[in-house]
Amino acid sequence: MSGQTADDLEAYRREVRAWLAANLDPRDDDAPARLRGGDAANLSPERVAQQRDLQRRVHEGGYTGITWPAEFGGQGLTPAHEEIFAQESRGYVVADLGIAGLTTTRVCGPTILAHGTDEFRRTHIPRMLSGEEIWVQLFSEPGAGSDLAGVSTRATRTDAGDWVLNGSKVWTSGAYYADYGLCLARTDPTVPKHRGLTWFGVPLTSDGVTIRPIREINGSSEFCEEFFDDVVVSDANRIGAVGDGWTVARTMMVFERLGGDPDESPRHSGARELAPDLVALARRVGRQDDPVTRQLIARAHVIDLVKEQLDAYVAAQAESGTANPNLGSYSKLAAGTLNPVRASIGLEIAAAAGVAWHPEDTEASTTALNYLNGRILAIAGGTNEMQRNGISERILGLPREPAHDLDRPFNELRHN
């Protein structure tokens, strides 16, 4: 599609506009955003079914997987086309399959495109795009979080050439309504930890899979834990070579950093507003003229601006092509260190109203909820400490941490 012209893109835009107007409902801008931990945070089976239908409609219209290869069910177009669809569809109700929906199209799909066999891609990629299959990552374990290569879920080969899974995974976003899990398992514990890993696509309806929601500090259950008891997985569902799982994991982590940002701190759209959530809060508690409160509001606004400018700065450097590929860690660490500050500012402005409210006053509970969620990006998707290691070693060039686990077989290491 390198020969595309501005006219082609304009024609595409007209086509998109006409299709959207004929097939989707306009969006109600006043609809409240879904807050993590809020009452509407968990997706009911009915809602998931409804959203899958909507996704199928968009897929059948030819507007999913716009940049993905046509031979696997995508449209084979350019990022410019994708951007046009994103711009034009902003005013319409599109499918919201929640966090697992994002994981499917932004993390699992691209990883499978990069490492799956042709047969596997032909089978699953179109279903991922149509909403028929929702995928999650089965990555972290109770015994291995930051040390991802230290996972101990075992996959052993059967005489028939299939695999049997045993172990458990945790912090899986949205697994309770997902169909498949992309699972990292240890296939050889007698070699050093990075070398004995392999990925599998596991149907979550298989015998021996138990999914339990984890109740989070905010009371809701977006994350799940999964248990695998003698779960049989076909070798056809293996992704990448046996023992090459860490290569696939690295691909996946890149996609995760690019697309999986579940930043749910209040965002302004269009013209920049002064920390609208906090100004509204200050007015509710009558403190908009209090100099201390005004300083806090402006501090939060400066945080918003700095994060925005840093993301733009990192993106501009990345486009130059000569930049260090790890600069994205700065955006992650900025979110991981500044979001908690911003969440605390809300609590400080609200004072008494932030910690106790009339039960029917759902607006008043938002500040507390934001406070409870403030550290999500300080932990999820790579803790602040992991970002600091990455920045100091891969950007600043400081010596790596001494490692005691790189050359010894996994089964001789101390692990949880």
């Binding site: 400018q309 990192v314 700065y330 010596p399």
Partner: protein
Amino acid sequence: MLPGVTADQKLFAETAERFIRSTCPVSTVRRVAQREEELDGGYFTEIGELGWLALFVPEEHGGGSPSGQPVLDAGLIAEQRGRYLQPGGIVGSNVAALAITLGGTGEQRALLDDLAGGKALAAWALGDPAGGWEASAGVAVRRDGTGFVLSGTKGLVQDAHLAGWFLVSAAVDGRPALFLLPADAPGLSIEPLAGLDLTHRYAELVLRDVAVPASAVVGQIGGDDLGERLLQVAAVLTVAEMVGAIGELFAMTLEHARNRAAFGRVIGSFQAVKHQLADLSLAVECSRAIATGALTAVQEQTPDAAELASAAKAFVGDAAIDVSQGCLQLHGGIGYTWEHDLHLYLRRLATDRVVFGDPAWHRERICRLHGL
């Protein structure tokens, strides 16, 4: 270097750095700071020839900027000046030149040739000794016939001792105004201040019934836009100097951590040190990012220029303290010695943080800009 620069701008900045390293490196700055050497007028005519003082001046008065984007070009020079703690407050001189270019009378414009060439320097007297940065701060104006009489004190005027001219902000009948005064105006005196920063000198500008004619006014009385533009330019250029200083201080500290050994290893191999350096480098990168955004917005006069300039001054002002403190900590005892350059950076940054508005002042301004 601040990103997004053209080849011309890159050359301009590299030439600036070469000039500084050969003419006025930090060792020279230190001697000037310790009053063992005085900066002669030659420094300013040389930087005048390099074009650092001509960026906001029109061509017919010997001005011009390499890229046609004077704010960005001045930002590149400011960054290099900050890196090497250059003396002589040229932010004020550039802002005064911009004021005259935008609103000066024919007579005032005659001064532009000298300002562009570094033959005369100007300083901007905006704030008062109490830390207010509104135009009206510190000075009262009464009308006298067709002219005016100015009385009061402006504070924290950068390198006033070098200035032949002062751009004085004040309010006339409650409306902001700018006056251009020669340093030898009767009733005007400069009270040198002792201070934290050793590389710039600060003074109060004391005005005792200074009578000025109507022709001393720059622009319109109540012409709010000019004063606003000057504040934005002064803020982002000060930020650019700070970003240069912060970056150099951090680079110095990283180098120290790579070389200094303890317990048989370089201290930069300890995770406690690595994590501090990672956090400090985040502050450096965030400062660069918001400075870049603010310089661009002020150059292009976008609707968000005012808030980005203030956000940059507020954020970088706070980051300057964090980085200075963190770098001192990582240097350990050597950083607490007079002979080490670290304190020259620490002192300058803590002071630049306040000049043309400290973080709290700019945060309150952000609220007002948004109508809160």
